[in-house]
């Protein structure tokens, strides 16, 4: 009997890749001068490889779903040299989702402090930008910039995987 996993792999081989090749170029509105200046530094110091540590600072988990999609087989973020790491000690980029809640602020700060320099902070989603619809609550400090210096913002609620990829690739262009 052919093992089912072999059958599935054969089928996938014959069907061809599912990875999208029609990725949009980075949005010029997003690739601000800051991002371009940043990209130059990142490229010079890290080449084409970027290690990302993701922290949810209080999101609704919508942004996490889209990060997962960006790492999945269809968007396949690793083909561009981007990869998620488990420890902040291994990370170049801190990717933060959600409004920063008062209860997560210290953990977020400590994660940032645990990263070696040079390091960059990317705020993901409308909540990460300015707190989104949760701004003004007694339990929310605001966007990521309320706690950490933010280098790049990728807006959206949640941002689509294309936008996440485009934003992160802007760092490497």
């Amino acid at each position: 009997m052919i093992p089912p996993v072999a059958r599935l792999m054969l089928r996938s081989l014959l069907a061809g890749p599912v990875t999208r090749r029609d990725l949009l170029p980075p949005d010029p509105a997003q690739a601000t001068e800051l991002a371009l200046a940043l990209a130059h530094t990142v490229r010079r110091r890290l080449g084409r490889s970027l290690a990302i540590r993701a922290v949810d600072a209080g999101s609704c988990n919508g942004c996490e779903l889209e990060i997962h999609a960006a790492t999945g087989p269809v968007y396949d973020l690793e083909r561009f040299g981007l990869h998620f790491v488990a420890s902040p000690r291994h990370a170049d980029v801190l990717l933060v989702t959600g409004p920063v809640t008062t209860n997560m602020a210290e953990a977020l700060r400590r994660t940032y402090e645990a990263m070696p320099a040079p390091k960059w902070v990317v705020a993901l989603g409308d909540c990460g930008r300015d707190g989104g619809c949760f701004a003004g609550s007694y339990a929310v400090l605001g966007g990521v910039s309320a706690v950490l210096p933010v280098d790049l913002t990728i807006p959206g609620c949640p941002p689509e995987p294309q936008a996440i990829l485009g934003g992160l690739l802007a760092l490497l262009k």
């Binding site: 996993v5 779903l65 087989p73 809640t101 619809c133 609550s137 339990a139």
Partner: protein, 506 residues
Amino acid sequence: MIPSASLLDFLARGEWVAEAAPWPRVVLDRPGWQALLKRLEAPGWELISEWAEAAAVHVALRDAADGAVAIASLPCPDGYFPSLAAVRPGALRLERAIRDLWGLEPEGLDDPRPWLDHGRWGCRAPLAPTPQPPLPDPLPYPFLPAEGEGLHQIPVGPVHAGVIEPGHFRFHAQGEAVVRLEARLGYTHKGIAALATGQSLTAAARLAGRISGDATVAYALAFARAAEAACGEVVPPRAHSLRALFAELERLAGHLLDIGGIANDAAFAILLAQTMILRERILETNLDLFGHRLLMDRVVPGGVSEDLPPEATARLRDLLDGLGPALARIRYLYENTPSLSDRTQGTGILSPALAHRFGAGGVIGRASGRSHDARQSPGYPPYERLDLTVPMLLKGDVDARVMVRFAEAAESLRLIGRILLELPSGPVRAALPARAGEGFALVESFRGEVALWLRLDESGRIAGFHAHDPSWFQWPLLEATIEGNIVADFPLCNKSFNCSYSGHDQ
């Protein structure tokens, strides 16, 4: 002896609130609440949720015998109410949250620790009419002890290794075996109830859809149904069908990610890749047809935001035609990979007795002998005419939770096909009048039963808001489930539960 009176008979002694819809809300006096406590010592009436307002505490209950739903309220002007936690353990954390948020003290609650309040809000009891000043130093948070030779603690979180939500897990382990696990949550508390208060229906619906992003359709639907009940407005039949279409697409996408995630945590990554490909097909179809991959803000009070575009039926049929056989292949692969079965079978067993005791719903309840599904009981349109089948297993292990998800995903595919076949014509949205009222809604998300209660003032704005995530009754069971398993199986057990942090913390 089990008393025979039904929930509604029992509540007949109280004062019925005229504007509560669609189920009664009854104000009890203190002896009445004590009698309710006494009656809850016997099984039969299930806890749906417990929450508070400025000077009153509310508990939503279901009579398992006849499915009747009702809310009992106790005014507590002196700030105290008798605790339900001794007779309904699921209420324990809810009452700790009531103390944190509203400053009402549950009498007889034997856990003095705060739950959502980590001492960092800048005030205590933020939802009370007069919030109190914060304590000078955040209180220490002692975890429940475990004692014995060779025991050690493993602290995990709130920042975890993967791309997941924040929460703290404290393990007491002896060698590889977990002796006790205790979770500490509240890291993603955003104060949603306070933010919603005073908002228009439109603005509050947007917030409700962001309580737990992976169940955005279910929350938006629960909010819309509660608002419609409060306004006494009837939604057009086509809107009911489109809402169910969105809800089933969400359920299918959620179950696919869970099935793949569980396999991935058992080191079988190819299955995650396969389910991600299928999930992506659904999300891309959502984006093309409805304008949002996760269908956020598509269910609105009064109906749905927009009707189907003309090409929708054909696109969705194509999607179903592809997904059906692909899902069957993935299920065959799951069931015929011994290395995977070895990890999932017999791991993380939740006994039916515990599932019933906590009233756990969703996949977790249905894999452990509790077949409750809000689409069936109390039920809501259009499911009564779709011949819904609800799967149930008794084993209660990780494998059972995967198999229930496979069965529900297949059922969602069938339901979507049926909804498309029988789609009524007509408008998709009704205008809601601005009026005062109270509404309550129960909706089945892919994770379990979402409950949402709200009160509207004369101008139609939110005057009271409470949303209950199924995770409240699932998180404590994860702790019971992992006991005696090895630490390395925790990610697997945790993923097989897939509780929401944001939905719980709000």
